[in-house]
Symmetry: D2
């Protein structure tokens, strides 16, 4: 399995060689696109894909994502970044220029329910989720077999409210050791402390099993059943210190009816959770999500 995935990853890396992502966020003003596209043209880059968005015609903020290709980019990326700096300064940009084939290092946190983990693995094996799944952390043993069969390190760590601080300290050490850039809470079912969250701003993706902001907090399917809703949903979002209030990345729903009890809702909901989380992770690792205030701009 490992060698199978290595082949997939190698293929991805090769086919994306020369592909570069430019992300920009700055105050809106005339001339930004002209300056950026002139810069790319002069430096021998060819634009493959481009998305832009301005929050407001007056005094808004401008967001840009360009995918371009350029020969010898691996050798010349530092030089390109340096050359871009004056433009970035002129327009007061937050920006990044990164290689599309440098995989993001990702950790998956999981509890007992494995459907979201399964989906991520399956999409990864299918070549749709090109990240480096560096490790899986769980407070249960259920996921060990599947994870280790893929030669991915599996770390069991007991977790509950009482020992949260100690556990998080250990987790942070691990995450640092593996240089993790993205944490996916694939139904982890534990609340993270503000201190932990502050290490990973807009780098922790959670799947909430309801159509937020309906049914915030625990047992959303039970609450949905009690309310008698006719649709149930799932929401993937970045984790902030306001429980279930972080920027929403993606949502979807499924139709239910009066015959579906709370257990049936939970069961039906798993399918939505799987796809809604997988899409959010995919967009994140492809640098398609920009966060502005408490909202996401998704360039897909």
């Amino acid at each position: 399995m490992k060698s199978y995935m290595n082949k997939k990853l190698d293929h991805y890396k090769t086919s994306n060689e020369g592909n570069v992502r430019l992300l920009v966020s700055c105050p809106d003003q005339p001339g930004i696109v002209a300056a950026v596209s002139a810069f790319l043209f002069k430096n021998g880059a060819n634009i493959i894909e481009s998305h832009q968005y301005t929050t407001d015609p007056e005094n808004g903020r401008f967001f840009l994502r360009i995918l371009f290709e350029k020969n010898n980019i691996k050798e010349e990326i530092l030089e390109l970044q340096q050359k871009f700096t004056p433009i970035a300064e002129q327009f007061q940009m937050h920006w990044s220029i990164t290689l599309a084939n440098e995989l993001k290092k990702m950790a998956i946190f999981v509890s007992k329910e494995l459907h979201c983990l399964h989906e991520l693995i399956w999409e990864w094996q299918s070549g749709n989720l090109m990240a480096d799944i560096a490790l899986v952390i769980s407070n249960h043993e259920e996921a060990r077999e599947i994870v280790e069969s893929l030669h991915i390190p599996f770390h069991y760590m007991k977790a509950n409210k009482e020992i949260r601080k100690e556990v998080e300290t250990k987790q942070l050490e691990l995450l640092e050791r593996y240089q993790i850039e993205l944490i996916v809470l694939a139904r982890y079912m534990q609340i993270l402390t503000p201190s932990f969250v502050s290490h990973f701003p807009n780098q922790i993706i959670n799947i909430h099993h309801s159509f937020l902001p309906a049914f915030i907090g625990a047992n959303p399917y039970k609450k949905a059943y009690d309310r008698g809703v006719k649709l149930i949903g799932a929401t993937s979002h970045y984790v902030t210190n306001d429980l279930d209030e972080g920027p929403i990345i993606e949502q979807d729903i499924e139709r239910v009816d009066h015959r579906d009890d709370a257990a049936a809702l939970k069961n039906i909901g798993r399918t939505i959770e799987r796809s809604v989380l997988a899409r959010a992770v995919k967009w994140h690792i492809e640098d398609r999500i920009l966060v502005h205030e408490n909202k996401t701009i998704v360039f897909n």
Copy 2:
């Protein structure tokens, strides 16, 4: 237009002649279906459509809707109802036996925004919403032209918080005069008093322009925009005295993205409001909705 609708209604009445709806709600126990279906068979009725649901295998409540046809039912309905009474008493039933071609008398309350009214009229003209639209009440003049062109009485009644009681008194008089059985709030935008609501238990259908229970109360599209949701919804529900907390009949959603501001959400949402309200009204007038506690059972 009037004569056109008269033809439609006549056609509906003729093609549903002989069709009868039996609705039952009672404590669950063995033998109910056997007793009811034997009764129907012995009385020369032929079952066309049948739905049943039990809330819980243990000590649950049983719900049944049967559509049957029977010759000469118009003359014999009283007799049939009398004959059914012993069975109903044996099983402690709430029940009704009604003619499918007796149209429910319906009032529509509307404000300035006419999209929901338009949809109801259009479905009515198309023969999908076979009710007797007896009158339209509005606190604005926008709907007068279209309503009167259909020869439906239009009643303008100023409405606001201060004069609510007086207005409702006049409305109740009107509703009684027209023997109204169903009130549809097609974006009426006024809160009804508990006293008013108590006259029409599970007979007032409202359209709320959000995916309840998210964004209860005023300005749901603004709230949805502020929260940065990726889907917006609409909910039709029976009106109770808890604002936006009555039994949900139907919900639906539409996908939106970061480019859609509050005005765009409102615009997109109108399409969902229209269809979600129209479906609820259709199911109600076809006696497909049973209310149990704060939930609906929809036999469709």
Copy 3:
């Protein structure tokens, strides 16, 4: 994993003990429901779920599925079936009375692409697809690892047009040995001969990767791309001797746009194929599908 599944299956069997499914198809006439429900009541059965459908009010065919519970049914099922025979004869019924906790023996045929197999396995492991997966047959080795890790027999059998007859003979032997009642073609990609199909009328479920009847035959995603469709679909259907013309069980679609090439369509389509096939298999093993002429009646 085996013991894990054994537990799931045991749980399913226990929780469905006493549950019985009655399926009926016969010429429509008054009194069928009365006769059947009186029979069930007299024999101490309690109806849990009931669905009926008549193809046509005049001279139509009547279809009925009742789920009922009855004590000691395991011991008394033969007797119950015997007692039902006179009623069945009176109404010229095709019928069956079967125990809900007797699992159908199922074979999965698969080729190189494993996404549909994966989905079936996950749903099976999740307790949503309670069948006895007796064996997997493939003309490739890709599925062996996952299948054998679940202690399910895996049979490799080379397959192509030239050796079709010999291969099918061996397959039929295997299927007989395992007493297979349902064959699922989980992207098997081989055409079956009329002789093979005739052994399993309405017992072979295929997933076709298009929205049938659009794009019948090979390479539907390529054809969909060439036509420039804005939605792609998948269709599960029973296999007959008319290629892709058998009774449709379920369909679903996903939105695509001009940026999606044939490879992207294929990729997006896999998600739909998975869920559309899994739903069809679930409905089949729960005896929710009745076939009438070339259409399915799905009681779900």
Copy 4:
């Protein structure tokens, strides 16, 4: 009503004053975006919205739509077009620069069924479909009342196979007189001759009441019913001389089941036809659709 629409149109025109649409199609090569955006910047234009697409990384065709705002554009548009010409020539562009508030002149062709016409009118009245509905042509009288009540010219023209040529000659005269730029076939149900179609390349939008390419030709709902599909669809497309084979603009579907006969499918389908046609018309009049070979690129 006329004055009401005049106000809407005036509001649209005012709020889009200064907004300009640039459409480009040319062979792909580096430097196009740089050249175009430098041009816009130098000429005092501010980009509001931008979409681009390349059919193929190698030797592909490049498509661009930019919405920009510029002061005094009404006076300076000719000058701007002239200045853009050298760039257009350098890159061998097909291109246009047009004012967003110059409404397209549109004719609607309709037959007896008015649901699509109604939807277009409502969306127009709601301000979502900012076109100049210059006239309605019909081979029936059903639409006259609603059309004339809006002070839109209504032209009755008998139509059938025998008199097609003569009728089309008259229609072409009318369309020329009104300087029509877009024809919408809102369930017109008549086939147009190649000669007629050739006058309006990619300027005639049809709604076909099936999920093309399934059920090409007449009676698609009947065909869908006979095939036993579980979803029905509608497709809006540009009309070419191959019946129902023109570039697809938009598609959507609705779920149906075994209880829905052909009449029910037709009824359910009308809702989809309405929205699918309205979206296509909206995108066309906002210049969001580019046609490449037999496919559409929709920049929405």
